[in-house]
């Protein structure tokens, strides 16, 4: 007991201790109080922001853009994680040559361009940020930056920058479109544009505390998850598309033509297997191409279809039961209609052709005479049903409607020229759809480019699931027309034996149409040569339509577009293993 006494004496009396503690507590609490007022009362926002900046990091979580694939899942456009390489010119200026050399070697970039980016910009000497290279695949970018680090140079960094890759280059480029490469986001036409809302997804972001470059566990953490874009599957078959593009390019260049389009449809479903345009461009380098070549001419260009349209005229006549393929027509060497005179493309004396012969020989006069069987308005009605003057609405931006003159404005001359495909304007896909109606037994199927169903940015539902069908002509009429078209590719009877495929029954029709010039509004001597058809004729699987615009020199539907048709069709029949049907080819009399 006695040992504790001295300690108690040192502490003093309890009263003294209590007072002392109270004073200390009061002092501490008032310090806290003042601080509290300072933090919360005076400028709470600035302090909150300061606290956020301290160790809190917000990183964007970019949504992955959906890919565009062909019908077999092969990517036509895909997003891969990429990086941009950025520099701080203040720090890289000193070693610009060495850094540029490493980057130029590793990434295959232009040395002198890199040099100017790594050096201080005389106009902005204080700039501490410069793009060095953009959209570099992540592995390549990291390897290059690591090499620079190893060499001991500072001032180079990377940031997220997704890469949009088009593995096929120009394959389906006119359909798929491209992403704008210059600095900011944006899409440049095609499906990339019309389905941007679907493909883009929604970026997210994440905020968390870091210490020494690592996340602090149990630290503050908020995350908005990104919503990745949806994938888009096309009905296109990449291999067919590639082949069609190459065949078309060869033909267009060979004919020294201005442009061309080739379309392959699945006759039974209306799915577009290939839609080739020429000139085309490399979707990875859209900047190098002319602006006019970026869209799809098959959808945006209107032209007069010419003789291919005779098929539609005959279909209507046969559907109404006004004629048969054996109906005899006396074809004079010229035919005055109103104030004009209609000629055939070949000189002839009076011919005695059957209606099958009119198609096989592609006689304008014969068609005009046959079309006189129509009641007023009936031809217009059929052309309207065949989809002329209506957009196909496959989901591509910038599709033209074409032009089918209003029936109230039709004169005798309009009726006559429209019957053989002049005075009406179409786009290539409209014409392909119309011909496919004959292949599909008289029922028009709206063509589709999208497999399944997808909503465009403008809110239209498109795709194979929402494809519409309506009957245009009867089954028997379609069969008759098909037989008449078979005569076109028959050796010795038709205008395009070169379009036939040995062993197969191929139905086709040539077209050589005069075109209206852009400036004068009259026929300026330029042509559009085309060929449409399908095979096997008695059980059609594929419909192919080819049009070549403004060829120079001698060109014809059969001679210029016919071989393109045959090659694409041959490829399709072989790829999809469609054997010949083995039935007897049609034998209709062409003359009498």
């Amino acid at each position: 007991m006695s040992a504790r006494r001295p300690a108690g004496r040192w502490r003093g009396s309890s009263e003294f201790r209590l007072r002392f503690a109270l004073i200390v507590l009061a002092m501490v609490i008032s310090v806290f109080g003042v601080r509290l007022v300072q933090l919360q009362g005076l400028d709470p926002k600035a302090y909150a922001a300061k606290a956020d900046a301290e160790g809190l990091v917000t990183v964007p979580l970019p949504a992955t853009r959906g890919s565009i694939t062909d019908r077999n899942g092969v990517a036509l456009a895909e997003s891969v994680s990429g990086l941009m390489i950025v520099a701080d010119p203040k720090r890289t200026d000193e070693h610009a040559e060495e850094i540029a050399r490493i980057l130029a070697n590793k990434l295959d970039l232009d040395y002198f361009d890199l040099l100017s980016r790594l050096r201080k910009n005389p106009a902005k000497p204080d700039a501490r940020f410069a793009y060095v290279a953009r959209r570099i695949p992540a592995t390549d970018a990291k390897a290059a930056v690591a090499a620079i680090d190893d060499a001991g140079f500072k001032g180079i960094d990377t940031r997220l920058d997704p890469v949009r890759d088009y593995p096929g280059g120009d394959v389906a480029a006119n359909l798929v479109g491209f992403m704008k490469v210059p600095d900011e986001a944006g899409t440049g036409g095609g499906l990339e544009r019309s389905f941007d809302g679907l493909l883009a997804g929604k970026d997210g972001s994440e905020t968390y505390e870091v210490g020494g470059g690592n996340r602090i566990p149990l630290g503050e953490n908020t995350e908005v998850k990104p919503v990745d874009g949806k994938n888009l599957t096309l009905t296109i078959d990449r291999d067919v598309q590639w082949y069609a593009q190459r065949v078309l390019r060869t033909a267009v260049q060979g004919a020294r033509a201005e442009s061309g389009a080739a379309i392959a449809l699945d006759s039974r479903t209306g799915e577009i297997l290939a839609l080739a345009d020429y000139p085309s461009y490399d979707a990875n380098k859209p900047g190098a191409a002319s602006k006019d070549d970026l869209g799809s001419r098959a959808l945006s260009d209107v032209y007069e279809p010419g003789s291919v349209e005779k098929v539609l005229t005959m279909s209507g006549l046969l559907d109404k039961g006004l004629v048969t393929p054996r109906t005899r027509v006396r074809v004079p060497h010229q035919l005055p209609v109103a104030d004009r005179v209609i000629h055939d493309y070949f000189d002839h004396d009076n011919l005695r052709l059957t209606l099958a012969g009119v198609i096989a020989k592609s006689s304008n006069i014969g068609t005009v005479l046959a079309a006189r069987q129509y009641q007023p308005g009936q031809l217009w009605h059929y052309l309207d049903l065949f989809g002329l003057g209506h957009r196909t609405d496959v989901g591509m931006p910038g599709e033209t409607r074409g032009l089918l003159p209003d029936p109230s404005t039709w004169t005798e001359l309009t009726q006559a020229t429209a019957s053989f495909g002049q005075g009406v304007s179409v786009n290539a896909l409209q014409m392909a759809t119309a011909i496919n109606t004959v292949a599909n037994g008289g029922e028009l199927i709206s063509p589709s480019l999208i497999k399944g169903e997808a909503r465009t940015s403008s809110g239209d539902e498109v795709g194979t699931d929402v494809a519409s069908r309506h009957r245009v002509i009867s089954q028997s009429a379609a069969e008759k027309v098909s037989k008449m078209m078979e005569m076109v590719t028959t050796e010795g009877a038709g205008t395009a034996p070169a379009a036939g495929i040995a062993g197969y029954r191929v139905a086709g029709k040539t077209g050589t149409a005069q075109q209206v010039g852009a400036t004068c509004g009259c026929y300026d001597g330029s042509l559009a040569v085309s060929f449409a058809g399908f095979a096997p004729a008695d059980n059609p699987r594929f419909t192919v339509y080819v049009v070549i615009q403004k060829p120079q020199g001698s060109a014809s539907g059969g001679g210029t577009a016919g071989p393109v048709f045959r090659k694409i069709l041959t490829y399709l029949l072989q790829k999809y293993a469609v054997p010949p049907t083995g039935t007897k080819p049609a034998r209709l009399p062409v003359e009498w």
């Binding site: 891969v80 592995t139 890759d165 082949y243 020294r256 033509a257 495929i501 090659k567 010949p580």
Partner: protein
């Protein structure tokens, strides 16, 4: 009571006083025995220490896990990027254009007429036809024509070449010299024009093949 007891005591014979005195029960002072303090303090400090150490270890472990997670995430990102890069390479190798070029190297062309062998009975369907060089499709783009290399023609507006018109401003000079000068000028102008024209023509033809 106490008086009774004391009376009895008083009355009792007093023998062996000393022994009795020794044997007398007396009230023992309450002894407050305190348990030893040391073990308890040790226990408390031990618990406290264990708690602190445990917390520290837990925290360190969490940090370690976080480092590990960051590293793994990085690795996963790297591997994903690598896979994508390899996929891209694969896609390029599988591209129809490359395959066609490889086929062309071997002298192959697309068949002109499709024909099939039916496996069930070995019969041939279609008309087998040997492929010919005519079936070949040009798969490479044409080389850019001269037009792509040549500059656009620079059109220079040449002043009137009528000699009389050009003579007039220099009437003060020696007439012979002036005529000579003018003719020279005119010839120069004409040659210039012709070169421009040929240049233009070349350019056009170049573009033609370029398509």
């Amino acid at each position: 009571m106490s008086s009774l007891v004391s009376q009895a005591r008083a009355r009792a014979p007093r023998f062996a006083e000393a022994a009795v005195e020794r044997a007398r029960l007396s009230l023992v002072p309450v002894r407050r025995t305190r348990p030893p303090r040391a073990p308890f303090a040790v226990l408390v400090f031990a618990i406290l220490g264990a708690g602190v150490v445990g917390l520290l270890m837990f925290n360190t472990h969490m940090q370690q896990a976080s480092f590990y997670a960051t590293r793994l995430q990085q690795q996963a990102d790297d591997l994903t990027a690598r896979q994508q890069a390899l996929d891209m390479d694969l896609e390029r190798l599988r591209a129809p254009q490359r395959l066609a070029e490889a086929g062309k190297e071997l002298g192959m062309v697309a068949p002109g007429v499709p024909a099939f062998v039916r496996l069930s009975d070995g019969s041939v369907v279609g008309t087998p036809t040997p492929a010919s060089p005519d079936d070949a499709v040009r798969i490479d783009p044409l080389p850019p024509g001269l037009g792509a290399l040549q500059r656009k023609p620079i059109i220079v507006r040449v002043p009137a070449t009528d000699p009389v018109a050009t003579i007039q401003p220099v009437t003060s000079a020696d007439p012979a010299q002036t005529t000579q000068q003018t003719t020279q000028q005119t010839t120069q102008q004409t040659t210039q024009q012709t070169t421009q024209q040929t240049g233009h023509r070349k350019h056009k033809s170049g573009r033609g093949t370029g398509r």
